[in-house]
């Protein structure tokens, strides 16, 4: 049993409506930068976003094509598995539903892949139905590279490691393939409201 450090409170925490804070989380107004590797800097004229795998035919968007796709602005709460939650974050991006529009697939799963080799897996049902975006803007500005720019996956209803930074595409799959952190023992699904941080939770 660790002893208590007198007077230590940790990062400045915000008070928040408890119904918005999943179990075990603290609310912050900071936006910590977490990364497993160096920040990639893919030039926009070489960037593309691809839908591949179990699809009738792969789809690709160049940056210009992606910019031309209909964008939405959403305000959501985000929850990191390292226990920090940030409420009312505003993002701009293209709904994954828009990108999957017209794609014929028998896939039940998705593996998101990013520059630098990061991957994360989700059920297809969790990136459709208005639950996920490819986000290229945050707080009214273009998404900063440190926070995943030019574009990242945004899936706010799951722990934020599922919102892959520097995303370059989605591989639609019939079988579920654990991504980077999932392979090391993080929960395969990651619902913050059920506190699904680690496999077996």
């Amino acid at each position: 049993m660790a002893f208590i450090s007198r007077g230590f409170r940790g990062r400045r925490r915000e008070d928040a409506d408890p119904s918005r804070v999943p179990p075990g989380q603290y609310v912050t107004s900071d936006f910590p930068v977490l990364s497993a590797g160096p920040t990639p800097h893919t030039p926009l004229d070489r960037w593309d976003f691809r839908i591949v795998g179990e699809v009738d035919e792969p789809r690709t968007w160049t940056w210009d094509e992606f910019q031309a796709a209909p964008h939405e602005t959403v305000t959501v709460d985000i929850h990191c598995v390292t226990k920090w939650s940030k409420l009312d974050t505003t993002w701009t991006g293209v709904s994954v539903d828009t990108l999957l529009d017209g794609v014929a697939t028998t896939a039940g799963y998705v593996l998101a892949f990013s520059d630098g080799g990061y991957t994360t897996n989700l059920p297809l049902a969790d990136v459709t139905g208005g639950k996920a975006w490819i986000a290229d803007g945050y707080a009214g500005e273009p998404l900063d590279p440190e926070h995943g720019g030019p574009a990242r996956l945004l899936v706010p209803h799951l722990y934020f490691w599922k919102s892959a930074k520097w995303v370059r595409g989605l591989e639609l799959r019939r079988d579920d393939q654990p991504g980077f952190w999932e392979g090391y023992g993080y929960h395969n699904y990651g619902d913050p409201w059920k506190e699904q941080r680690y496999a077996g939770d």
Partner: protein, 83 residues
């Protein structure tokens, strides 16, 4: 985000291996580069700690703490010798 180096995970390595590991010498499985664990690029601010090859960014070490256990993956090395 600037990387740190293997010194930053020295304590975690001791917990996982039971002894000093920053002077362990490894060969990167991707580029063949040789380095001491202290001389890798380490990213700490994540759900786990990741050490990458300084020459080619290949992931060499991943350490994740899950319910009191430390999961360690060293498979990015093709060879690793303790000090």
């Amino acid at each position: 985000m600037d990387a740190l180096d293997g010194n930053a995970i020295a304590g975690q390595l001791v917990v996982a291996f039971g002894h000093e590991m920053t002077t362990a010498s490894g060969v990167c499985g991707r580029c063949g580069g040789q380095a001491l664990l202290a001389e890798t690029n380490v990213y700490l601010r994540a759900p786990g700690s990741v050490a990458r090859c300084r020459a080619c960014d290949n992931v060499l070490v991943v350490m994740v703490e899950v319910r009191g256990y430390t999961v360690v993956d060293l498979t990015g090395f093709s060879a690793l010798e303790p000090a």
